[in-house]
């Protein structure tokens, strides 16, 4: 099965993602891990809260996976995203791609995270000492 999607409010399993895309034919597995950073523009972040329009998010994640499989010679792709309250250092997203050769794995993985950030209906709110801000909502 070449596409593995996951969206849930429980901690992500990076090794499971890698296992899902590593085939006997794979020579390289590229993994992107998005983590919760402790600051935004120098301001300390207490935590992030992620929300998803779940059914549409999974649809958009599938479109990304299908496009990646169509554009590059890759064997499998896993896109896993966590929702709910995440602390600094927690893993919010894992994208793993298995391919025969590393060029395709790198490029497909980059494409997947870049596109996810543009098109998938998931939102994060940064919580600071002095308030909360939905990221990128206002100009």
């Amino acid at each position: 099965m070449p596409i593995h999607l996951h969206l849930a409010d429980t901690p992500l399993d990076i090794m499971a993602c890698i296992g899902q895309v590593t085939k006997p034919e794979s020579g390289g597995v590229n993994v992107f891990i998005g983590t919760v950073r402790n600051a935004t523009k120098g301001k300390p972040v207490l935590r992030l809260e992620f929300e998803a329009y779940e059914s549409m998010a999974l649809r958009e994640m599938r479109k990304i996976a299908e496009e990646a499989l169509g554009k590059w010679p890759v064997q499998a792709i896993a896109i896993h995203h966590r929702t709910g309250v995440l602390q600094v250092g927690d893993v919010a997203v894992v994208i793993a791609v298995g391919a025969a050769h590393r060029d395709a794995a790198f490029e497909a993985c980059r494409f997947a995270i870049d596109t996810l950030k543009q098109t998938v209906p998931i939102w994060k709110k940064e919580v600071f000492e002095d308030g909360e801000v939905w990221v990128a909502a206002h100009p």
């Binding site: 329009y53 995203h81 543009q118 939102w123």
Partner: protein, 80 residues
């Protein structure tokens, strides 16, 4: 017809609920619904942008809304 609109993220905060109901004419378009929402909830107009999704696909302004459609307000996304 009465339509139900899901609101997420900052749109949910602005609209005060994750579900909004609007009374609209038959053959209303997504563009018209966006307009109605902005009139009802002016803070939506202050966002960088927002989209309407109809049945889990981003709608064009002239996309027709039919009874039973699942409609959602999609503020700027920030996953990943």
């Amino acid at each position: 017809m009465r339509i139900k609109i899901l609101a997420f993220g900052i749109a949910r905060d602005i609209c005060g609920s994750g579900v909004i109901h609007l009374e609209v004419s038959e053959n209303v378009t997504a563009g018209q619904v966006k307009q109605l929402l902005t009139e009802g909830y002016p803070q939506l107009g202050q966002l960088k942008s927002f989209l309407l999704a109809v049945n889990e696909e981003c709608a064009e302004p002239d996309t027709l809304i039919t009874p039973g459609d699942e409609i959602a307000v999609i503020p700027p996304v920030s996953g990943g």
